[in-house]
Symmetry: C2
Subunit: 335 residues, 2 copies
DNA sequence: CTGAAAGCGCTAACAT
DNA sequence: ATGTTAGCGCTTTCAG
């Protein structure tokens, strides 16, 4: 790599002159500025980022820690974060916790050594279950800002970007009720996450708020990946009066749809299905899945904005929680 | 952040003593080492990565540039790269080119300033169409190693990790022939990519190699995202003798499957479908999609291994191209 | 066994 | 208008 020193030597000026010239300092003569700049361009000079960052204590880099990049929601969030960060002149360093607390701790430690100006993260499942957030709260002590999105905890004092999970599930359920559905079940493989519990609560509340719904809520908690398909199929098989499904995670909606079709249910005549997700491959189902749309791009964008704000202004202002609106998008699996 | 200097002051020793102690130098007395280390732990000292990297000209960071993170193949590749890199003590800085050459150039420039030790990338569609790789070849001049994966070009001299696209499509097509299929069409929305062309060639060759296949190849090139569904549906509608589909991109296989079902085709009795992709959400189709499996994890792992090798040993050894085997995974959409 | 000093590449206050 | 110097935090040679 070409350095300031090399430019200086070739031009017979001092390093500081070169530095100033490249920054258009008015201490430097227009003539010199020109000479410096043209040589810099010729030699493809680029200021060493490490040196600049070391000097300025500013890396213009954001650490992003997500639980699982194969989950389309997080992939899209990452996409949004990268895009917005890039627009604002920031790079992102990505770590994947794989839902493990150990990996989360490791990543945090690895990067909180001057590598990044702040973090955007969503909490690993293991961490959320353990309800232990010391490693995240430690960042505040080191004066490193964090923004949490989607999976958050009230035991962490920092900026947050969430969706109204309770309200979204409430709305979805209410829609099914308005269709006249009489036996609405909920599928969830995320019941151990804060967002999952909130969505389940929204569903339950919507049912209990309905005067004419004479049933108990029926929530089917899915555990291991492998059994999901079987459990969903069996649930539908065992009770053919089920006429509404609220699937609060990313995949069980599609699976339920396919299983219902396989069992000969007419959709949406006999049975309505509403999933949770942003638009993606799911839209290729037939009929197309109705979903609660999460506006993932907005989530990412807001997370970046909050973080950059916090970086530039490490004031002691209170943490902010931004709630991104959701949308009930009715497609082919609802009436 | 706690610095060496602060430790040194508190312990009344010099900075260099502290540094050596933390590295277990045998120039330092065991006693001092102990005192230094315990204080370091107490104060949660972490060496400033920027300073270390600046000093050592080694960042232990890999720049990853992918065309589109919402494409499940690239998401999985990123997952694999991150995992392997992390295991080997490297961080990754992720940039998304969004299939744009301009963004690709920008990202490369942004990071080839000491931020990373090398790059792993897959070429943007625009770049591949333009057939202009100056920005990538520039890296070699700067002695920054690159590993290309999946989308590569023979006009770039560097290590590469690819799959045998031609062979994979050839195999898939041959399988359909072996089923006795007589009218096999190919769907592709990636015909402008090197990998797409190779796959199409594999399909064409397999057909021409078959003595008893009395038809011309029929390749349907899909262009804009919006029309894909309509085109596929119309193709199937217009010719109800189609009894085999090779879908060489990530999504058209699922779409074709759904459209065929919608049109009342029996699968796999009337019609077999083979898609290209790693296992993912596609597997939730019913019947489950048969695919050419790409072993994305292997691809990512090999890319990292090649790059780290190149970083540690910037010898002038010839570029290596690794070809990762594919697998034809027969599920429910083939006999 | 410990410390002083130089230097990685850069910026900026302070001379000249 | 240009140069000198110090320093960001660290490692490492060289002196003591």
């Amino acid at each position: 790599m070409v350095t300031l020193k090399q430019l200086a030597e070739q031009l017979n000026v001092s390093v500081s002159t070169v530095s100033k010239a490249l920054h258009d300092s008015d201490e430097i003569s227009p003539d010199t500025i020109e000479r410096v700049k043209s040589l810099a361009k010729l030699l493809n000079y680029k200021p060493n980022k490490l040196a600049v960052s070391l000097k300025s204590s500013k890396t213009n880099t954001i650490g992003v820690i997500i639980p699982n990049i194969l989950n389309h929601f997080f992939a899209k969030a990452l996409y949004a974060i990268e895009k917005e960060a890039s627009d604002k002149g920031y790079n992102i360093i990505t770590c994947v916790s794989n839902e493990l607390q150990s990996k989360e701790i490791e990543s945090l430690q690895l990067l909180s050594n001057g590598s990044v100006d702040g973090f955007i993260m969503s909490i690993a499942e293991e961490t959320q279950v353990a309800n232990d957030f010391d490693h995240i709260n430690l960042l505040a002590q080191q004066n490193i800002p964090v923004v949490l999105f989607d999976r958050v905890s009230e035991n962490i004092a920092c900026d947050k970007v969430i969706i109204d999970d309770f309200g979204a599930a409430y709305e979805a359920t209410k829609h099914l009720l308005s269709e006249g559905r009489k036996n609405i079940v909920l599928f969830s493989d995320i019941e151990d996450l804060s967002v999952g519990k909130l969505r389940t609560n929204g569903y339950t509340k919507a049912l209990s708020d309905a005067d004419d719904y004479g049933r108990q809520p029926k929530t089917i908690i899915l555990k291991s990946d492998d059994a999901i398909e079987a459990v969903i199929e069996k649930t539908l098989q065992d009770d053919d009066t089920i006429d509404g499904i609220v699937a609060v995670d990313n995949v069980s909606g599609v699976i339920a749809l396919h299983k219902a079709l396989k069992l000969g249910r007419n959709i949406p005549e006999d049975l309505s299905v509403i999933g949770f997700s942003d638009e993606n491959i799911l839209k290729f189902t037939n009929p197309k899945l109705s979903t609660v749309s999460q506006h993932t791009l907005e989530i990412g964008k807001n997370a970046v904005a909050l973080l950059i704000d916090r970086i530039n202004n490490k004031g002691v202002s209170q943490p902010i929680t931004k709630t991104i609106r959701t949308n009930l998008v009715l497609r082919g699996t609802t009436r």
